[in-house]
C-alpha cells in the first residue's frame, strides 16, 4: 500500500494509520456523544488521505471523485447524528452515553 512514486511515500501511510488509531481511540474511550462523532470524522479523514495518496499520479481524477462523494456522505451522517444529539439533550439533559438506560446487551 505504500506508494512507490511519491518521495517519502511511507509517511503518508503512517499518517493514515495514525489517524485511524486516533479515531478509534476517540470512539472507544470517550463518553460524550459529540466526541463519538468527532472520532468518526477523524476516521473518514484518514480514509480520504489513503485514497488520494495511494493513487498519486495515475488515478488522481477518479480518486478525487471518490473523495468528494465520501465527504458528501460524511456531511449527511454528521448532520443526522447532531440532530439526534440535540434531540437526546432535549429529552433528558444529558449527552453521556453511559446514561443510555437500555444497554442490556
Amino acid at each position: 500500500m505504500a506508494n512507490n512514486l511519491l518521495p517519502y511515500g511511507w509517511m503518508y501511510v503512517y499518517t493514515v494509520f495514525a489517524m485511524l488509531f486516533i479515531g478509534f481511540y476517540c470512539i472507544f474511550a470517550r463518553r460524550s456523544m459529540i466526541r463519538l462523532l468527532i472520532g468518526l470524522e477523524i476516521i473518514s479523514k484518514g480514509i480520504c488521505l489513503l485514497i488520494i495518496s495511494g493513487s498519486y499520479p495515475q488515478n488522481i481524477t477518479t480518486a478525487q471523485a471518490l473523495v468528494i462523494t465520501v465527504i458528501v456522505i460524511e456531511v449527511c451522517v454528521m448532520a443526522v447524528g447532531l440532530g439526534l444529539v440535540i434531540n437526546a439533550f432535549r429529552h433528558s439533559a444529558s449527552i453521556d452515553v453511559r446514561d443510555f438506560s437500555n444497554l442490556k446487551g
Binding site: 500500500m1 505504500a2 512507490n4 517519502y8 511511507w10 509517511m11 503518508y12 501511510v13 503512517y14 499518517t15 494509520f17 495514525a18 489517524m19 486516533i22 481511540y25 476517540c26 474511550a29 470517550r30 463518553r31 460524550s32 459529540i34 462523532l37 468527532i38 470524522e41 477523524i42 479523514k45 480520504c48 488521505l49 495518496s53 495515475q58 488515478n59 488522481i60 481524477t61 477518479t62 480518486a63 478525487q64 471523485a65 473523495v67 462523494t69 465527504i71 458528501v72 456522505i73 460524511e74 456531511v75 449527511c76 451522517v77 448532520a79 443526522v80 447532531l82 440532530g83 439526534l84 444529539v85 440535540i86 434531540n87 439533550f89 432535549r90 439533559a93 444529558s94 449527552i95 453521556d96
Partner: protein
C-alpha cells in the same frame, strides 16, 4: 514541508481527542482539516482539497459549533480521569508496531490507466453517474430524516 503538514494533521487531530473544552477540540479539528486540504493540493488533487476545506472545515465544523452552543456548557460530560500519558504511551507503542511492518507492505505497482486525461467534471458526471444518483439519494435521506427528527422534537416539546 510535507512532513510538517502531515505531522500537523496528526497533532491537531490528537488535540481534538484530548482537549477537555469542547469548543477548543472542534477548532483544533478544523485546523487539522485545513492542513489536510493543503496536503491534497500538494498531491495534485485540487478539487478534493477545495472540498475538504470548504465542506469539512467549513460546513461540518459550523454544524458542530451550532450544536455545542445549542446544548450549552452545562452538558459537559465528566470524562473518565485517564491521564494524557496513557494515550501517548499507547500511541508510541502503535507507532513502533506500524513502523516495523510498514516496509513489508506490498508496494503498489500501477498499470497505467488510459483515459485519465479527462477532467474531474467528466469523470464525476459521465463515468460515475450512478454515484451521483447515490449522492442524491443520500441527500434525500439526510433531509427527510432531519425533518422527522426536528418535528419529533417539536411534538414532544409542546
Amino acid at each position: 514541508m510535507d512532513v510538517i503538514l502531515l505531522a500537523g494533521v496528526i497533532i491537531f487531530a490528537a488535540f481534538a481527542v484530548l482537549l477537555k473544552d469542547m469548543l477548543k477540540a472542534v477548532i483544533s479539528l478544523m485546523i487539522s482539516s485545513i492542513m489536510l486540504g493543503i496536503v491534497f493540493f500538494k498531491l495534485h488533487a485540487p478539487y478534493a482539497g477545495v472540498f475538504e476545506i470548504s465542506v469539512v472545515a467549513g460546513l461540518i465544523m459550523v454544524l458542530f459549533i451550532m450544536t455545542i452552543s445549542l446544548i450549552g456548557s452545562d452538558a459537559d460530560v465528566k470524562e473518565p480521569a485517564v491521564p494524557v500519558a496513557v494515550f501517548i504511551v499507547l500511541f508510541l507503542i502503535f507507532s513502533v508496531v506500524i513502523m516495523l511492518r510498514i516496509f513489508c507492505l506490498p508496494q503498489v505497482s500501477h498499470q497505467l490507466m488510459s483515459g485519465e486525461q479527462m477532467r474531474i467534471g467528466e469523470v464525476l458526471w459521465i463515468c460515475r453517474t450512478f454515484d451521483m444518483v447515490g449522492q442524491i439519494s443520500v441527500i434525500f435521506a439526510g433531509v427527510f430524516v432531519l425533518l422527522a427528527v426536528v418535528s419529533a422534537r417539536r411534538r414532544n416539546g409542546k
